[in-house]
Symmetry: C2
Subunit: 341 residues, 2 copies
DNA sequence: CTGAAAGCGCTTACAG
DNA sequence: CTGAAAGCGCTTACAG
């Protein structure tokens, strides 16, 4: 083994195992794949041979023969910074990983650009490299992912932007009801100048949350003009808060479309000496770790991110088994009251 | 196309393209792989046929034939929460992604447990699924990753724990020098009771940073007993700070092994009404986004995380090309002065 | 410069 | 229950 290029072992093949065990390749293959129809003592012999040679099946060969890759793409159409910066994704990914744990599938990360997927991503997804794709975020104008299921099964995290255009499978929460829930809580607290920091306008979830805010605020006869949009980053939450404050000093309630943005907003309120929740009561969305890691516990609309990830994995596995799971799975939200409202 | 199982297109093969273009499979293969020895007009014809049929090579078949997968594993032996929670990883991954951008390789994420890799991860890495592995974190006691290069090329982010045991390739900074650099800055500021929040004791980088702190503090004739260990999470930084404060109230300087832990520490100092930097000057490590996203800009030891990722990708690509890049690449650190010290 | 043919390491009807 | 054989879709010497 030289310094720069260790001699690499040659992996043993099915053939070698067959020879070692004194059976045919077919039989070894059956044992490897857990077929019922093999004599117990033969199974034992083959298993021992596999053990001795430290045999691991060659995935490419297997893929080619049975047309399955045993891989699922985790597609993230977001900037790396946002993907890593928002604990929401962390929880979704944990859920997906957990849901796939007992399966033989592995997850292949595809960081895609938020606008249009790269040629490389497209070739990868279309090139038979994965058996299915889980897309954890979707923006308007992106047709590639919504039509991808003509080629491989696809499950979306969150209803894709134009659900009517195509029948995609997805796991989501009722964001509109959630938005109304969080806002109504502020109304019930007696707040009357309730602003919102909404999310990006090219994604379905924030649009629905915003609509939920409008629903609640309208029903209460309150104004609907206190709106600024962020892009789901902490910094954008802070910037939106500044803009809101500069525009109108009389805010007493705030519904924010994500806990991370709420964290940014709260830090600006504190900077300006505005007390939370006394002067401005703040309700976030997600109930991600961002809601509890700041200086004040954020009252928020909980969405079961981790369970959503598990559900996405479950739906994908069902589709890969050839079953027909429900096309949409909408999970419940609930309010979690902490200190910010 | 029915609701639950859209009819999936059958992908065209090389064979089909050959027929369409009126040439042999060999020729199509040559064109696809950019061989020099094909007549220009034939190239044109084949390219057109590829275009018409929307041909994408089957990766499994290609892999099987040329024994390359064109995939690199990104192995993260960390809890998902920590991986997603620390901006340092985000920057490393961005760098790796960037370094691979112009190559034909794709990145396959393998979240592994920090202790021992799962059977699934082992089979994956050993099963010919990837051409190489980039391991972005390494803990003591883990022999699997350090010996993995007997099978495939491996590049570590950060010197692996027992470098002497095996000749692994890695990209790193001089953590010891960096630790001394940050600590010396505190000393030069006139601080005399300088504590450190060190990182986990089963990783090389934090051990070296801790040693750097010892070096500087010892050279200045200052005490070396003000040490508490965290685990690189924000919460552990806060907990460590509390412990330090409870143990000794006289601290006037603090060197923390990561910006994220420094953020946690600073929030505790503020809670207790201790001013930063007046009462306690704080120096972090990383210069990640955590250093600038909190209430106060953190003075920190910069490590070029993104460039390190790029370098890791570059070394990996070189190894995959059969070249012999330098085995270790140690990049410079430098002090970035902000408000916390 | 181009094609026929072997081979990569599996799976899977098909016989027996 | 087991094996011989074809086939998955490519690449790559080998001839020409």
């Amino acid at each position: 083994m030289t310094l720069h290029s260790p001699a690499r072992r040659v992996a043993p093949t099915l053939e070698a195992v067959a020879a070692e065990a004194g059976v045919s390749r077919s039989t070894v293959s059956r044992v490897v794949n857990g077929s019922e129809h093999v004599r117990p003592d033969v199974v034992t012999a083959v298993t021992a041979a596999i053990e001795r040679l430290n045999y691991v099946p060659n995935r490419a060969a297997r893929s080619l023969a049975n047309r399955q890759t045993m891989a699922i793409a985790l597609v993230v159409p977001e900037d790396t910074t946002r993907f890593f910066g928002d604990p929401f994704f962390s929880e979704i990914v944990q859920g997906i990983t957990q849901g796939l744990e007992d399966s033989d599938y592995v997850l292949n990360l595809q960081l895609a650009s938020p606008s249009a997927p790269s040629e490389k991503t497209i070739r990868y997804l279309l090139g038979g490299n994965v058996d299915g794709a889980i897309v954890v975020s979707h923006h308007s104008g992106d047709d590639f992912f919504t039509t991808l299921d003509a080629t491989i099964p696809v499950v979306f995290g969150g209803r894709p932007f134009h659900p009517e255009a195509h029948e995609n499978s997805f796991v989501d929460v009722d964001n509109r009801a959630g938005g109304a829930l969080g806002t109504q809580y502020l109304i019930d607290l007696g707040r009357r100048r309730i602003a919102t920091i909404a999310g990006p306008e090219n994604m379905q979830a924030p649009i629905d949350r915003h609509q939920g805010w409008i629903d609640a605020v309208t029903a209460a006869g309150l104004p609907t003009d206190l709106v600024v949009h962020g892009d789901f980053t902490l910094a954008s939450g802070a910037a939106a808060m500044r803009e809101l404050l500069d525009r109108s000093g009389e805010i007493d309630g705030l519904f924010v479309a994500s806990d991370l943005m709420a964290t940014g907003a709260i830090s600006v309120l504190r900077e300006r000496g505005i007390r939370v929740p006394e002067d401005v009561a703040v309700v976030g969305f997600d109930n991600s770790s961002a809601a509890t890691s700041g200086s004040i516990g954020i009252t928020t609309v909980h969405q079961p991110s981790r369970e959503m990830g598990v559900e996405m994995a479950r739906m994908m596995l069902a589709m890969l088994r050839g079953e027909h799971p429900e096309r949409e799975r909408v999970m419940p939200t609930r309010l979690v009251v902490r200190d910010s409202a």
